[in-house]
Subunit: 130 residues, 2 copies
Amino acid sequence: MKGDLSIREVAQATGLSAHTLRYYERIGLLSPVGRDAGGRRRFAARDLDWIAFLQRLRSMGMPIREMCEYAALRRDGDSTLAARRILLQKHFDRVRQEIALLEESANVLEAKIKLYGEMEEAASHFCHPE
Amino acid sequence: MKGDLSIREVAQATGLSAHTLRYYERIGLLSPVGRDAGGRRRFAARDLDWIAFLQRLRSMGMPIREMCEYAALRRDGDSTLAARRILLQKHFDRVRQEIALLEESANVLEAKIKLYGEMEEAASHFCHPE
DNA sequence: CTCCTGCTTTGAGTGCGCTCTAAGTCAAGC
DNA sequence: GCTTGACTTAGAGCGCACTCAAAGCAGGAG
């Protein structure tokens, strides 16, 4: 079927390894992927969107466990919309907090780096006055 | 000596566990801590600042390995100022990039959450028209 | 003196998220 | 038919950052 992808193609398209894709299916992040006559996986084109979303969640630090919860809810259909929204919202809040924390720390670090620069300046003047 | 702290006190002050403090010393994040007659650790008050800085670096996702490098440079004195600055700068850049990435993802997620909200709205109108 | 608590050490165990190995299957190319 | 190479599976292994266990000692309370 057109739009059908081998695990290799999906790996290349997503940047995940074939190992990881199998692992994701095993733990339920991906619903069981179709197989060809030889038992090889054939991904649907729209699986790519889902995988991209999974990558987005991972990049935001959502633990695999929670992503599995989300995936399970998704499989249960429209009746889980609210539950899914709540799950995402919870993580969204954590991410916003994490961003704020990182930003504060980054500012402190930046100040420290600047200080180091000044200390190096001073040291070089001390060694080579004028 | 005044300003001398037991491992328990340092744990409480920093939020790290006593286990973790011993671990940090073992791997060289903390230079060897003084002991009392009974072999028990006695932290100096200024160790707290260093530990706080370590926590800052950890919270920014610096790997322990790099923190050890930094700690080793620090022990080698003023001649390593530039090397330390470079190490921090490298991590600072990574953090800024990570923040940008998180922010972008958070925005995408926010949009998705909003969409979920609208879908729930629409569904409830469908079930209870007018 | 005995008991208890809190520390000491070395080294093993844990949870996470992959990552890889081993052994086997299948389809294509020579 | 045989080889090659990409795939399959179940399950083991890895790197990180802790976290805990076991065995033992030091000092204080009773």
